[in-house]
Amino acid sequence: MFDDFFIRALIAGIGVALVTGPLGCFVVWRRLSYFGDTLAHSALLGVTIAYSFELNIAVSVFLVSSIIALFLIQLQKKTNLPGDALLGLLAHSSLAVGLVVIGFLAFIRFDIMGLLFGDILAVTVNDLIIIWFGGALILLVLKLIWKPLFASTVNYELAEAEGLNPDRAKAIFTILMAAIIAISIKMVGLLLITGMLIIPAAMARNISDNPQKMVLFSVIGGLLSVIIGLFSSLEFNTASGPSIITASLVLFILSLLKIKQSIQLKN
């Protein structure tokens, strides 16, 4: 019934959703959606470098995004510019530089649409290995830093005062963000990765009253989005990224009904 490529895309998507679920909750809680966007834009530069030097795309994107993230932290310390201006500066300049480099790579066949919006046809067995091994590693590290990261998300000073070392947890989390973008770029595309992080988590916020539940619902929402999105992508011949994100939007809208209910209950 399904071609091989579709099964591969499904396995890849499920792997991505399992990781974006918990990470996305932290993106929402820590107000990092623009930070995610900046890393995703810089991923284009990573992709072009991968093509230029024949590197693995995920590895190259991971390295470039990590460097940009560390650069951002340095800029925040050394300049008086507001955080969003620095994010915009890095996002657009790395996107622009990436596009300029692509111009020089005219000799390479380049599926730019697939890069921006995801392409399920492009998922290889090699990508599956990267997604599942990389994803497992990200989840493992996240579990290890969960306590200090979560505590400092609630209150930085409490975490610091009671000896949890929140600064280290924050730095590691930044690296994890770069990693999830690197492994999910083929599935969702670099313009929509942040959506995959935020929308299922936002949906989960509407129907949760504690953090564990929110993480669980965020994962379930991500999985449903991937499955529904990929089937409709196959059915309507649309790009995989937008189809997945649209599916997650539908789930988000459904979750709003629950909020409306609880408001009516209060009245």
Partner: protein, 248 residues
């Protein structure tokens, strides 16, 4: 003030400045096991800053902090919980330490809010939240408790009960407490050592010694000093509006 085995944290001539302004300078104090040290002083005198230096929250400081424990409980002066986080009292209790249910219930019972265990943190009143904050800090049975105005917003009878609880915790757990408080009655009755701050240490000592001190009287007014019998002293320095200190 020689340090011994009972010392939990010791500040040696510490100071902290932000944007070229010293928030506090030249503070030395020591918290020992089973003892309550209270910081008093007007608004902006550097009480919370001193607490944060002792806790290691401020790292770029002048002077030295020696800390002999990692089991710390902290009640900050201000905590704002973000609405983007769904958080129940129960989740907040295990924020920095994994606790058994019994320990959570015990701590919440002590501060009288065990019935709120499954309530959303955002739905609590100011006084209820303050009780939860205190419960969280004591639940891990810390060796050092730092309490920055722990009973703000708590009703009058509750306030007295909570101060009694703090004293009891200090005795039962043999933990050292660094307390910041505006309630001079309580300070004077339950404290072992008082440090009066005004950007620097104005005076310090036993509650009786401090109440006798003219500096203290100048800061808090005649009424405050009548809490305990007063002996007249002469000022040895005055504060200008810029915060400079001039010897008389």
């Amino acid at each position: 003030m020689g340090s011994n085995n009972n010392t939990l944290v010791k500040l040696k001539n510490v100071g902290y400045h932000q944007n070229d302004k010293w928030l506090v300078k030249g503070v030395s104090l020591e918290v020992e096991k089973g003892k309550i040290v209270t910081l008093i002083g007007p608004n902006g005198s550097g009480k919370s800053t001193t607490a944060k230096i002792a806790l290691g929250i401020y790292k770029k400081i002048e002077g030295e902090v020696e800390k002999y424990t990692n089991k710390v409980g902290y009640v900050p002066q201000k905590v704002s919980i973000d609405w983007t986080l769904p958080l129940r009292v129960n989740d907040f209790m295990v924020l920095t330490e994994n606790l058994k249910d019994d320990a959570i219930n015990e701590a919440l019972s002590l501060t009288g809010v065990v019935h709120l265990k499954n309530k959303n943190l955002g739905n609590l009143s100011g006084g209820e939240f303050q009780r939860v904050l205190l419960a969280r800090a004591i639940s891990k049975k810390p060796e050092l408790l730092v309490l920055d105005e722990p009973v703000q917003g708590v009703d009058f009878t509750g306030e007295i009960a909570l101060y009694e609880l703090i004293k009891k915790i200090s005795d039962d757990l043999n933990c050292g407490i660094l307390l910041i408080s505006h309630d001079l009655h309580t300070v004077m009755s339950a404290t072992d050592h008082v440090v009066c701050l005004n950007g620097h240490v104005c005076c310090s000592g036993s509650p009786i010694d401090v109440a006798k001190n003219m500096e203290y009287k100048a800061l808090f007014g005649e009424q405050a000093s009548q809490i305990l019998s007063v002996y007249e002293h002469r000022h040895d320095h005055v504060h200008s509006s810029e915060g400079d200190i001039k010897k008389n």
